[in-house]
Subunit: 157 residues, 2 copies
Amino acid sequence: MSEIQKLGAILKEKKIRISGAESCTGGMVAAEITSVDGISAVFNESFVTYSNDSKHKNLGVSLETLEKFGAVSEECAREMAEGAAERSGADIAFSVTGIAGPTGGTKEKPVGTVCFGVFFKGKTVSTTAHFDGDREQVRKSSADFVIDMMISAIENS
Amino acid sequence: MSEIQKLGAILKEKKIRISGAESCTGGMVAAEITSVDGISAVFNESFVTYSNDSKHKNLGVSLETLEKFGAVSEECAREMAEGAAERSGADIAFSVTGIAGPTGGTKEKPVGTVCFGVFFKGKTVSTTAHFDGDREQVRKSSADFVIDMMISAIENS
């Protein structure tokens, strides 16, 4: 069973409602979640928030966070996940915000730098990972990574 | 060049800002759009609105439309596209709402029935298509279909 089928089965069995917020993955994670038959029982909506303005408007990420830490930061990822949970009423919410490339990298945050958040049961975990490869490989690795983060968050709760 | 690369090139060249609203495709189209390098110049956000409540809340689809015609209807697709354009301020906005299966089909709307909308330059086109195949095939066909609809809408405008 693939990881997304595993996550989908857990969500449906435990009736855990899910939502999320995606920047660099641009909907890939939501598309994977909705590949699971019958996921409508626990999935109402998700947010593709590519610009800073969209992260602020749709998820409530603070302008201060965006200015001080940038959109690709654990602080932003945390607020994105919490905003998605709050706005959707979901029990678990994920976020992905990173630099998929080929442009946009800096010395401090090179291409392949991706920050993640997972909100579950009132607690938010956020982390940073670095992936090799081209734009699509970074995006796919990011989607896989956050799906595993959610499985871990639920299994370890 | 793939259709999505073609659409991305047109959007970037003509500075046409894009948004959308996805139900059965669940983010696949937004994920394809964001596979294009540099699309951030014309893409701020998109909406994954799986439930009726989310379509109403995030896109302004009327409760009357949802009740009278259902979520899988050209009327709903039209309101989804117009709502995505309005809420995001985009120049072009697409919508996809359908029955990907394996369950959820009825005699009038069998599995594979998908409704689409494209708003561009103050005009909205909506249509219905029927696709064969399993859940993923219906979703992929739907994503391809609406990408072609957008290219046509721009080229024929």
